[in-house]
Every structure is written in structure tokens, then in C-alpha cells.
């Protein structure tokens, strides 16, 4: 479906220059770093807008709470750290200074999930979505590729309120071939199908599309739903899919506890749906020091394993 030619798969390659553009367009945008400017891609922003850029060093707590302070003075603050530190080291600050104060901070979690690769368990955030999803007033979003990353970033430049903006280091493939539209609470059906529905976000959406191709070869028509807005979630799409396809499979670059899979489970169970849900993701263990490919495989997050699981379930 997608033409990836010339489009970088690396989040910061798209995010960084885009923030410079948006910085010109929106004078209230501020960028905050925590000694990871190189990973956020925000060196360009710092150079263009030195006064509107703060590097807090290795002090994520202060970064997130001070960002809230800036937001309460009218700024739209994009603040980042590795996903793990943005959500866990600064957990209370994001909860209280940002959400409880309803501060206009875009908490950006970098190198999300297994894309932290060999940095290992201390860096591979498997719980960040679970944590952020539990915060009242927090929206949680993750793009499926850098086209959607752009869409979300543009949306965030206008949106006023706390958001957790999860960003993998890089994508495995593109999913779109141009910048799609994005809205909080809205999912996108990428592929129709009647036998099973794959719901995914982030790098997992590409995997889901690939798995659907494998399933097709086996005669199984899979619906693929991209769910960039994990909270608020598009419950309607899930209920519809459950009614129409029965089996639902969530695929995510995150623990199976508390993330997209749990959000889907909540929707299904509350609606008394008899659809079976399979939650594919990191199986309640910490990340290890290994390449993305290795860890995806270890966690059953390859198109082959996913297709296999679905085939045997439908048999």
C-alpha cells in the first residue's frame, strides 16, 4: 500500500524539522529537552528559537513540572525524554503538574518500547502506555509511521491540553503514502475484512498489515484498524469489528498489561461481546538487550507468528 521512497522511517527526522516549521507558525510553542536533543531531533529548533528551547539536563522530574509551569503561562510545551523516563521518572509530575493542573504539555516519549533495542530493560518502556492511560485528563497517542507522526504533530500544535505522545525510535515500514488526517478518539480502517480484526498502533500497525497479507494467502480476510488514539479510544470501531468479525487481535509494542490490548478488553467486556480477544505484545516481562527484530520475534510480534496464531485460532 505505502510508498516509503524518500520518506525517513526515523521519528526524529520528520519530527525535528517539522517542529521548526511549527515553531514559526505558532509562537507559543516551546521545546524542552532532557539531554536527549539528539534523539528528539530538536537541535534545529534550539538553533532557530534559542529562547524557546530549554534543556533541563538529566532531570526529567523538573522538566515535566516546569513544562507545566510554562504551559500555565500560555505556552504549548513539547517536552521529551526516553519513553521510560518521561513516564516513570517523571510520573508524579506528569500526573499532577501536567494532568491535574490541566497544563498544555505534550509529553513526548522517545525510543518507545522495543525500539530502545539494545539499551535494554532500563530503557525499554513496556509500561508507559499503561501508566499514561491511567491518568485522568491525559490523551495517549502513537503514530503508525512518520506520515501519521506528522499528522499528529500538526494536530498537537493546535490542541490545548495534556497529551502523551509516544514515539518509537524508528518505524519498520510506512503505512500511509501521504500525511493522513488525525483526530483524537478516531481510528482508521486500513483494510476491510470479515474473518478477524487486527487492531494496532505504532510500529505494530505495519506488522498488522503485513500479517494480513500472510493471512490472505491462507484464505483469511483480516480487517486492519489503526488506532493512533489509544485514549480516548474509538470504542465504536471495536464494537463494530467484534460484531462483524468475531475474533479481535490487538498488536502493540508494549506490555499486554494496561495498553491497547487492555483498552480493547475493557470495551469488549463492558459490551458483553462474545468476541474472543488475543492480546499480542510484550508478555509482562522487561525488555532485554537485543535488536528490535530479535525482541519482536521473542514476543511473537512478527507477521508470521501473528498470522499463525490467528490461523490456528480460526481453525
Amino acid at each position: 500500500m505505502a510508498d516509503t521512497k524518500g520518506r525517513s522511517l526515523v521519528s526524529k527526522d520528520i519530527f525535528g524539522p517539522l517542529m521548526v516549521e511549527l515553531g514559526h507558525q505558532y509562537p507559543n510553542i516551546v521545546v524542552c529537552d532532557t539531554d536527549l536533543m539528539r534523539c528528539f531531533g530538536t537541535k534545529g529548533f534550539m538553533k532557530e528559537f534559542p529562547k524557546r528551547h530549554i534543556n533541563f539536563g538529566i532531570a526529567e522530574q523538573n522538566c515535566m513540572a516546569a513544562s507545566a509551569g510554562m504551559a500555565l503561562c500560555g505556552k504549548n510545551v513539547f517536552s521529551s525524554s526516553f519513553a521510560n523516563f518521561a513516564t516513570k521518572r517523571a510520573c508524579d509530575q506528569v500526573s499532577i503538574s501536567v494532568c491535574y493542573n490541566h497544563a498544555n504539555v505534550k509529553v513526548c516519549g522517545l525510543y518507545a518500547g522495543l525500539t530502545a533495542e539494545k539499551n535494554g530493560g532500563t530503557h525499554i518502556g513496556v509500561e508507559d502506555v499503561a501508566i499514561m492511560r491511567s491518568f485522568p485528563d491525559m490523551a495517549v497517542v502513537e503514530a503508525a509511521d512518520t506520515y501519521e507522526l506528522e499528522a499528529i504533530t500538526r494536530y498537537m500544535a493546535e490542541y490545548d491540553g495534556p497529551v502523551y505522545f509516544r514515539q518509537p525510535k524508528m518505524y519498520l515500514r510506512n503505512v500511509y503514502d501521504s500525511v493522513p488526517s488525525f483526530e483524537l478518539g478516531r481510528s482508521v480502517e486500513l483494510k476491510n475484512g470479515r474473518d478477524v480484526t487486527l487492531i494496532a498502533c505504532g510500529i505494530a500497525t505495519g506488522i498488522a498489515l503485513d500479517a494480513a497479507d500472510v493471512l490472505k494467502e491462507n484464505g483469511i480476510e483480516a480487517r486492519v484498524i489503526n488506532m493512533p488514539s489509544i485514549k480516548p479510544i474509538d470504542a465504536e470501531a471495536i464494537i463494530k469489528a467484534a460484531a462483524q468479525t468475531g475474533l479481535i487481535v490487538t498488536i502493540e509494542n508494549h506490555s499486554t498489561v494496561g495498553g491497547l490490548g487492555s483498552a480493547a478488553a475493557e470495551v469488549l467486556a463492558e459490551n458483553g461481546s462474545d468476541a474472543k480477544l488475543i492480546r499480542m505484545g510484550i508478555k509482562d516481562h522487561f525488555g532485554v538487550t537485543a535488536s528490535l527484530a530479535y525482541q519482536l520475534k521473542q514476543n511473537g510480534l512478527t507477521k508470521e507468528i501473528i498470522a499463525g496464531e490467528i490461523s490456528s485460532c480460526l481453525r
Binding site: G57, Q61, L72, N101, H102
Partner: protein, 306 residues
Amino acid sequence: MNEKLEFGMLRKKAEELRYNLIAMMDYAGSGHPGGSLSSVEILTAIYYGGFLNADANDPQNPARDRLIMSKGHASPTQYVILADKGYYPKETLKVFDVDNSMLPKHCNRKLTPGIDASTGALGQGMSMAVGMAMAGKMDDASYKTYCLLGDGECQSGEIWEAAMSAAKYKLDNLQVIVDNNGLQIDGRSDDIMPLGDQRAKWEAFGWNVETCNGHSLEEISAALERMGKAADKPSVLIADTIKGKGVSFMENDADWHSRKMTKDEGVQALAEITESYKAYGFENIEASIMFLDEKELAQLTGKESV
């Protein structure tokens, strides 16, 4: 709007606020008396001594000075001041700490006009204040940000992260005051987690440091004056205070961090403040009550039975 009282009147105001403060907590049967009482003079000096530039009629004015109660449990002191300043009707003080009150136990910016940040999770107000001062610098705005910390609160690492960042960005528009009452919940800070040489700590973190007797309105004002002139550095005032100041049985007793007064204790507390008021040469503190009518006040002072 930058109201400035002479020291005589400032003292009068402080005692009247203290009286209302005790009355409000007594009326509610709640609050954090110790840390509220210790900060009366500090907040009085800031609000009435010509420092805080803020307007009750325009509490969201972007050009206003900010005041962040990082020790958000001392909200009562700010509540009586905001009522006196006209941010809300004085009678509002009656709803302090009732269910879903607009004057909750910890400062909440969404509920109370005049409150600039929701606090209560210690440490975070300091960072938010730093962020506000940073935003001021970005906008070349001239507002100042004041921030009140507890001494126990300074055990929290976030304070030192924030301190380091304020020094980096030369936030001379940031004025932090430590309500240095030497007590926290479990006892003396020196026993629970000694803060050691606080001046040395802040100086080592690149701050301009002032110290003073935190119950002397003159000393506080002089220190704030000097802090306002310090350029290229954030300033901190370590204000030595007495937790529970003004009520003999509360002073220096960690138990009064968040104890509720019995009826008799309330009577005695109000009587003691009346005494000091008189000792300062003022008369009839009861007339200063902001939010209770005579009958209601009589109940608290125990005079209804006379």
C-alpha cells in the same frame, strides 16, 4: 494593586489574618495549623508589603506576579488573604475543606481564584514556579514568581533539580522562600532527614541566599527588597519560623502539623491571638473577622455561653 502597608499596619494585618486563619480552621475542624501559622508573616509581607503585583479583579492577568504555594497544605493562610483581598466573598471561608469545596485542603488553581497552581505533591510547586519564571523570561515579561517551600520539602530531589535549572537560566525573576520551621510530620527535620547547612546548599546551587527571622515583617520585607535587586541569579530567603507560631500549645509541636482543634483548644488559640494583638497595641481584633458574624464567632471564642 501593589498594596503596601506601613510596618505597624502590616503587623496589625498579620495578626488579624492569623485570627481569621485559626477561626477558619476551627470552624472547619480541619486544616494544617502548624505550617499555616508559620507562614503568616511571610505571606503578609508578600501580599501587603508592596511586593506581589496582583489584582483581585483580574486574577488571570498574564502580567500578574505569580505566587506558588509549593507547600500546598498551607493553603489556609493564602485563603484568608485572598478573601481579605476580595478574590471571593469573605463568607467563602466558611466552606474551607467542606466536601468538594472551592477552598480545598491543598491549593487548587481550578477551584480558587488567586491560586496559580494546584499543589500538594511536595516539590512540584517549585518546578512549576521555575517554569513560570522561564516563561516570563521568554516573553520578556516583567512579572515575578514567588514560591513558598517547606523545610521538609527541601529533602525532595526535585527541589535541587529545579534549583540547578533556575541558576542555569539566571532566573532573577524567581523568589523562593523557605518556611524554615524545623519540623515535618514525623518530628524535627534535624532528626528525620537533616537539611544541614541550608545556606551552603543553596549557594552551592548558584543562588543568592538571604536569611531572616520569618516572623519579623521588617526583616522579611528587607530581605525581599534585597532579593528583588539581585541580578542574574535566582534568590532564596531562608526564613526561620516557628511551626504553629502564635498559639502556645501548637508552637514547635509536630503533632500540630494537621491536628484538628478541640473546642477548648480553639477557644484558647483565639484568646492567645487576641492577647498578642493587644500587646501590639491594637484593640478589638474580633472586629477584624472576615467571615463570621458575631454569633458564630462567639461560638468559637466560647463566649456564647457567657
